[in-house]
C-alpha cells in the first residue's frame, strides 16, 4: 500500500498525475468511514495535509481558504471572524470536537454530501472553488461543481486548492442554522445560510442556500427576488420560506421525507432571515 505525502503543491500535482486513481486523503473523517463500510477500497493514498499552500488562510483582495484547513482552524481563525464569520459559524457545527480537529474544507466540498455543513455557507458567501489540474487552475461555483449526492465534478488529476470569497462588507447581515436530532454528531436534516446587505433599511444582494433539502446545493433565486429591495418583515420572511419550500418540491418531487421537510423549510428559512435581520440590529 503506497501512502504518498507530498510537501509541496508541485509535488502533489505530479504525484496525482502519476497516480490518478489514488485516494486523496486529508482528515480521513469520510475516507476512513467509507473504507470501513466497504464503499471505498483505496489502491493507494495521497495525503495532502503537508502541502503548505493548502493549509493557509489569507486575506488579500479576496480571502483564500486552503482545502486542507480543518474545521477547528476555520472556527478559530481571526481572519474569518473579521471578514467571513459565516464560514466560522458553519464550521463550528460540524460533527464533534474530534471531527473538527480533522475534517477539512476541501474534504467537505469533495465528498459532496447533500448534508455537508460548509457547503450552504460557502454558497451563500458566493465562494469560488479553486481547482488545479495539469492544464492549470480553474474556478467553479459550488452549485456548478456539485452535481448530486457524492458527485463533485473533478477531473482525474485535479486537486481542490481551496476557495476564494469576498470579505463581508460592514452592511452584511448573515446567519447559519442547522436542524439535527442532537447538537453534536448529527447529520443535518436541514441546514442553511443567508447573506444579505442592508442599505437604508432595505435588503440587497440576498444570497440564500438551504442544504440537505435537494440533491445538490442551490440558491433559491425565487425567494431571493422576493426579498430584494424590501424591508425586513416577518410576513415577507414567511413568504420567502414558502417559496423555498415550493422550489424544493419542484427540484426533488414528492419523497418520503417531503412531509417533514417541506413545512420545516418554511419555518427554517423564515428563522434564518429573522436571525440575519436581528444580527443587523445588534
Amino acid at each position: 500500500m503506497e501512502f504518498l505525502r507530498p510537501q509541496a503543491l508541485e509535488e502533489a500535482l505530479s504525484l496525482l498525475a502519476e497516480h490518478p486513481a489514488y485516494t486523496i486523503l486529508a482528515g480521513g473523517t469520510d475516507v476512513v468511514v467509507r473504507r470501513r463500510e466497504g464503499r471505498l477500497a483505496p489502491e493507494g493514498y495521497l495525503d495532502v495535509t503537508l502541502v503548505p499552500e493548502l493549509r493557509e488562510i489569507w486575506n488579500g483582495e479576496s480571502i483564500f481558504v486552503g482545502a486542507a484547513v480543518t474545521c477547528r482552524e476555520l472556527e478559530e481563525s481571526p481572519i474569518l471572524a473579521a471578514v467571513c464569520p459565516l464560514l466560522a459559524a458553519a464550521a463550528s457545527t460540524v460533527g464533534s470536537p474530534q471531527i473538527r480537529s480533522r475534517a477539512t474544507l476541501g474534504g467537505n466540498v469533495a465528498n459532496a454530501s447533500p448534508a455537508a455543513d460548509l457547503i450552504p455557507a460557502l454558497t451563500a458567501a458566493d465562494a469560488q472553488v479553486v481547482i488545479q489540474g495539469r492544464q492549470g487552475t480553474r474556478r467553479a461555483a459550488l452549485p456548478d461543481l456539485i452535481q448530486g449526492p457524492g458527485r463533485c465534478a473533478l477531473e482525474p488529476g485535479e486537486l481542490i486548492l481551496g476557495v476564494v470569497l469576498e470579505p463581508f462588507r460592514e452592511t452584511a447581515r448573515w446567519s447559519f442554522d442547522k436542524i439535527g436530532r442532537r447538537n453534536a454528531l448529527a447529520i443535518a436534516r436541514m441546514n442553511g445560510a443567508v447573506v444579505l446587505e442592508e442599505e437604508g433599511g432595505q435588503m440587497r444582494n440576498v444570497r440564500l442556500c438551504v442544504g440537505a433539502a435537494a440533491r445538490r446545493p442551490v440558491r433559491f433565486r425565487g425567494a431571493e427576488a422576493l426579498l430584494e429591495g424590501q424591508n425586513p418583515d416577518k410576513d415577507l420572511f414567511r413568504r420567502a420560506g414558502e417559496a423555498v419550500s415550493q422550489a424544493i418540491l419542484e427540484e426533488t418531487g414528492m419523497r418520503e421525507s417531503s412531509r417533514y421537510k417541506l413545512p420545516v423549510a418554511v419555518e427554517f428559512t423564515a428563522r434564518l432571515l429573522e436571525n440575519a435581520a436581528r444580527r443587523g440590529q445588534a
Binding site: G28, V32, P42, D47, S101
Partner: protein
C-alpha cells in the same frame, strides 16, 4: 513503512502498514487497550486520543499520517502510578459507571483543559459533545471536569 512518533512522551519506532488506524496500532500492535473500540466511524468518542494537542478519533486516524506527531492516550495521564487530578476527580464525583466511555471522556476533557484551564460549564459540555455515555451519566462527568479545573490541574 517505518513509523516513528512520540507516544505518551516516549519515542516509538515500528514497522506498520500505513493504512492501519491509530486505534488498531495502539490496541493490536502496542497492546495498549486503554483506548476503547466501539463504533469505528467517529460517532461515539470512545477511542478519543490527543494528537498534537487536539482531540481526535483514533479509529479515523491512519498510521501513515502519524510520523513525528505527539500522541497522548489515557495511559499517559497518570504519573509514577499516581492518578492525575482529572482521573481522581472522575472517581471522587462517581463519574465512572460501566467505564467504557471513560478513557475517551478523560482525553476529551484533558484536551479542553490543556487549551482552556478554566472552562465554563457550557465549554465543558461542548468539549464532551463528541463522547457518548450509554449509561447516561453525563452530569457527574461534567461536574468532575469542572472540579479538576477548579483545582487548577488536570
Amino acid at each position: 513503512m517505518k513509523l516513528e512518533f512520540i507516544l505518551n512522551d516516549k519515542p516509538v519506532s515500528l514497522e506498520v502498514e500505513p493504512d492501519m488506524t491509530l486505534l488498531d496500532l495502539l490496541r493490536e500492535r502496542l497492546q495498549m487497550t486503554g483506548t476503547k473500540r466501539s463504533c469505528g466511524v467517529g460517532e461515539c468518542g470512545a477511542c478519543t486520543v490527543i494528537v498534537d494537542g487536539e482531540p481526535v478519533n483514533a479509529c479515523l486516524y491512519l498510521a501513515g499520517q502519524l510520523p513525528g506527531r505527539w500522541v497522548y492516550t489515557v495511559e499517559g495521564l497518570s504519573k509514577d502510578g499516581k492518578l492525575s487530578a482529572l482521573q481522581q476527580a472522575f472517581l471522587d464525583h462517581h463519574a465512572v459507571q460501566c467505564g467504557f466511555c471513560t478513557p475517551g471522556m478523560l482525553m476529551s476533557a484533558k484536551a479542553l483543559l490543556l487549551k482552556n484551564p478554566h472552562p465554563t460549564e457550557a465549554e465543558i459540555r461542548r468539549a464532551l459533545s463528541g463522547n457518548l455515555c450509554r449509561c447516561t451519566g453525563y452530569e457527574a462527568i461534567v461536574e468532575a471536569v469542572g472540579a479538576a479545573a477548579e483545582r487548577g490541574s488536570s
